[in-house]
Amino acid sequence: MMKNTAEFGKHLFLIVLGLLLLYPLILMLQMSVKNTEQIVYDFFGLSGPFHLENYARAWEEVSPMIWNSVVMAGGSAMISVFVSGLAGYGFGKLKFVGKEPLYWLIFAKMMLPGVLNLIPSFVLAWKLNLLNSYFAVILFAVGGAQPFWVFVMRTFVQGQPKELFESAKVDGAGEFRTFLFLAVPLLRPVLTLSALNVFINVWNDYIWPLVTIQSFDKRPITTGLAYLATTHVGEYGPLMAGYVIASVPLVILFSLGMRQFVQGLTGGAVKL
């Protein structure tokens, strides 16, 4: 009996928590099919008529931004996962002079806050002629993601049984082939997690694209939505529809990589 109550308590706790996590989605959805009067004067009402045209209007404005965000977030994720995967393997398995100092150089940046970087990064992006291009976002996102993910990757590579890699050596596989055909499949969950994480961070980033992406047709959804909120004052219905649309790609991505995402970290002890 006692045991059942405890078990029930745990489930109740998690279900309530889950519902609380869902509330913004629910509010967004119900506001997105109403017009301003219905929202302001009848916030809870769902009596209709439903204004599905909000979605048509929102789609027109939001769809180009989604593409921009996908390119920037996807590009960052792919490059980052490749770079940090390589480095994780290099630092975790290979031997070379200066390995430790180099690793510490990267690792230390994890402890160093990035706030000082905004303005000089902006100037650097400008001098490198990157402003207003997707690369302004991609390259800096990859750079910013390295310290943490190199650290994680190295932990995971070190956690793999040594014999595995040794046997590959006997086969005479080149180091890169060992990495590609042995390490990558083994590390797939954490690699996927890393890619998803970088993707989501770029997808949600606001300040950096705000200052670097100036062209109207290259704006990602974050700055784009904030912009729509100021240009469509009071049009809450279409705005919310826009928010809903902007969330869809992440939901799709999540359902594709869900298993890796929720289990990606279980293979190693990530800690300090």
Binding site: L14, L105, I106, L116, P120, V142, Y206, L265
Partner: protein, 300 residues
Amino acid sequence: MSALAAVTSKKKAARFVGYAFVLPAVLFTAIFDYFPMLDGIWHSFYRWNGNNIEIFVGLGNFKEILSDSVFWTSVRNMLFFLVCNIVLMLPTLVASIVLFRIKHSRWQYAYRVLMCIPMFIPGIVIMLLWQFLYNPQYGFLNQLLASWGLENLQQLWLGDPAMVKWCLVFIGFPWIGSIALLIYLAGLQNLDSSIWDAAAIDGASPLQRALSIEIPLLKGQFKLNLISVLAGAVTGYNLQLVVTNGGPGFSTTVPGLYMYQHAFGSVNADYGYASAVGLLLFLIALLISLLSMKFIRSEE
């Protein structure tokens, strides 16, 4: 070619292979993380508008910042958010322990998926949504109170300097950090299951178990998450920038926003001054990180 020479050259090649593997990451970190940081330190001693004005001012920027009461207000506000954010690491920790104790693997998986939801709604959407909900004249919260006949409980929310900070903190409700949760969970699952069996025999209560076993074992993970929370709270300003722009008055101005406002969109734009603010923040964040590392020792 002798066998020995072949081995040596292979070893040499192997050494180079090592560099090839780590070079991209080193370069990315050096160019896009370290270079801007050093450049920022350099320019914090200049009055610099990014274009034609670049005048060396020595410690002038720092003197001006430290004598500006707005900066100190922003530091106080930052400390408020810092404390809140540290306390609010608790829900994630609790959730991860409860989640870990669900032994039914299907359910556990389903809940894990549920806990990852906050990551998939763009943060900006939540902020803009709350900005609407908080509006005192036509927002959701005051309407809700009115519909319950509780007009006397209606608030100004973001318009009330005494309340606005709490309003901002509440935007994170229910304060579940998905990545942090996954890190804790992975930590618990990696432990030897014999520990749990021993605990079960002991007959410790769930809370005792959490305090005596799980939490101590998660120290390393906690430290990792703590660092990102600390850095985020000391240097972050996304929320303040989007929702209140630091107001009303200076009640939600944080140092990061103070820096941002001095660099972008101000008639008196000064990147040098802003860089100096950045350097100060950097030092504060570093100091706090180091202190917290000293106080929490992880198990090796």
